[in-house]
């Protein structure tokens, strides 16, 4: 009897091993939070030293700082030459161009591919196409950059009457567009698969064709998922660095993203300018060094905002099916 009582009261759940395991797993899970907070703190601190109103208080010489208004509203970006100027509008305009240009490629193609996979493809075809898309998503971005530089740009040079330069935004937009197609397709396809089959049946029962059902029932019903796929893919596009840096060069000029001709020129977005700064010969105390943090923070705020918008769209507009 007494041995049974002893067995029943063994406290395995409070044993050191169990407690240790719990803490260890918690610590692993917490790393992502800690690292995120750390990155944000580093970005904010660096950026604070960059701006005059806060930088001087943090011990920076006024000459090594820039006013917030000149950063936000000026268009000359010359960190490496005198006079040093840090006008965000130049790299920001390239970032917007990259976003628009890659959107023109990826959004229609990605959605059309998703419609094919979800509505038209046979199981066999789907089993070939889906892995192919995953491979496309797995190609290292530097390879996309080479692809743009070595194949797309020379091809464009022959197609465009006036030719394009070695570095240009078109080929960068094209490769980044191709790069984000799998993201648009896979998230959109998931959203379309979640549309109940009963709605398709209702459409067919009313004499709709497959095209009608796909475009007037499935796509509108999945619109929240499609919209978030777009936003997530575009935030990936504006965060893309390597392919753009290789394909679009290092110049930084304010351009009108709505002017198609501008895309035939080189320009470098926020990410590519950060590479320039990080790999360039700059002093760790100067404005150019801290500009890197300001750019990083800017990019972080943009992509964070886009992710929040995407979350809002998918939670707010998600249709609830019974």
């Amino acid at each position: 009897m007494s041995s049974i009582t002893a067995d029943l009261t063994t406290q395995t759940t409070k044993s050191p091993r169990e407690r240790l395991a719990r803490w260890f797993f918690f610590a692993c899970a917490a790393i992502s939070i800690v690292v995120t907070i750390g990155i944000v703190v580093v970005l904010v601190l660096g950026a604070l030293k960059f701006f005059r109103s806060t930088g001087v208080a943090l011990g920076m010489a006024p000459g090594d700082t820039v006013t917030l208004s000149s950063y936000l509203f000026e268009g000359q970006w010359t960190p490496g030459s005198e006079p040093q100027q840090f006008g965000l509008l130049a790299p920001l305009s390239a970032t917007v161009m990259l976003m628009l240009g890659s959107a023109i490629i990826a959004l229609p193609l990605g959605l059309a591919a998703a419609i094919y996979l979800s509505e038209y493809a046979s199981d066999r075809m789907r089993s070939v196409l889906k892995p192919a898309l995953e491979i496309l998503a797995g190609v290292p971005t530097v390879v996309y950059g080479f692809f743009a530089l070595v194949y797309i740009t020379p091809l464009l040079d022959q197609l465009v009457p006036l030719g394009v330069g070695t570095f240009n935004m078109v080929s960068a937009c094209i490769v980044v567009g191709i790069m984000i197609i799998p993201m648009v397709t896979s998230i959109s396809e998931d959203a379309m698969n979640a549309v109940p089959d009963s709605l398709r049946q209702a459409g067919y029962g009313l004499g709709a064709t497959k095209f009608d059902v796909s475009t007037s029932i499935v796509v509108p019903s999945a619109i929240s998922g499609i919209a978030s796929s777009y936003i997530l893919a575009l935030s990936r596009a504006i965060g893309e660095t390597m392919a753009v840096a290789i394909a679009a060069g290092s110049q930084s000029t304010v351009m009108n993203p709505l002017n198609p001709v501008a895309y035939f020129s080189p320009n470098s977005p926020i990410t590519a300018q950060m590479i320039q700064l990080a790999t360039g010969d700059i002093s760790a105390q100067g404005a150019a060094y801290h500009a890197m943090f300001a750019l990083g923070l800017t990019l972080f705020v943009i992509t964070l905002a886009m992710n929040i918008v995407s979350e809002l769209i998918s939670s707010r507009y998600r249709e609830v099916y019974r």
Binding site: S122, P196, S198, L199, Q201, A202, G203, Y204, G205, L206, G207, A208, T209, D212, S216, I217, P220, S221, E319, V320, Y321, R322
Partner: protein, 291 residues
Amino acid sequence: MTEGHSEPETEPNTTTDTETMTDDADDELKTHTAGFESPPTGETIIEAEDVNVWYDDDRALEDISMAVPEHNVTAIIGPSGCGKSTFLRCINRMNDLIDDARVDGTLRLAGKDVYDADVDPVALRRRVGMVFQKPNPFPKSIYDNVTYGLEMQGIDGDYDAIVEDALREAALWDEVSDQLHESGLELSGGQQQRLCIARAIAPDPEVLLMDEPASALDPVATSQIEDLIADLAEEYTVVIVTHNMQQAARISDKTAVFLTGGKLVEFDDTQKIFENPEHQRVEDYITGKFG
């Protein structure tokens, strides 16, 4: 001949003469289509001859032959898995959407075999409306739900009037007339199903197929749908699948009993089926000995 409902001597519910019922329906139809040239009432509109359906190697229907008369309610009853929904989906070729389904035999709609090579299933479904088991309104406004079929079929006309007519016919207009542009998903289950009926009849099909349309609804909503079906038969030919025998007895003129194995065991006037079936198995099923 009598003049329809108003004649006191015609009491279809109390007479055992099944012919009376049919005559009554005939006359009712004539009153509703006065001045409009229509084929003689009771004429067969859907005629199945030796229809077989296979899903892969499983035979879901075996040699079904039956003739559905125009402007009547024809009920198909039977236990689960007897193929009654499969048969319904043969009529508008919804089975075509299932990859491994195969249909053979002859199934004529107004004399034309719908499985002929030159028949377009999309065109067929424009003449044969369908209402499903679970209410399935589109996540669109009530108005857009009703006009969907019109748009898909390229039907021109005064959409406002068509929407109102269809919703009135579906006995939904009074409840939704002030919220036509709100989502159809906001409605209750019974209202959603009546919206689906309005959506199916808006393009003015010949035949309305209903696949257990009340099975997901509460008793009040069910009786509303049943009342509605009787009215719909004045204008459309209704073929309704139901697992509820009382429902079939209440609303249908003709009843087909499918039993396990995808066989049509008996097809006759509803009253005959429920009062004096030819087959012992049908009687056993109807009296609840199995199923």
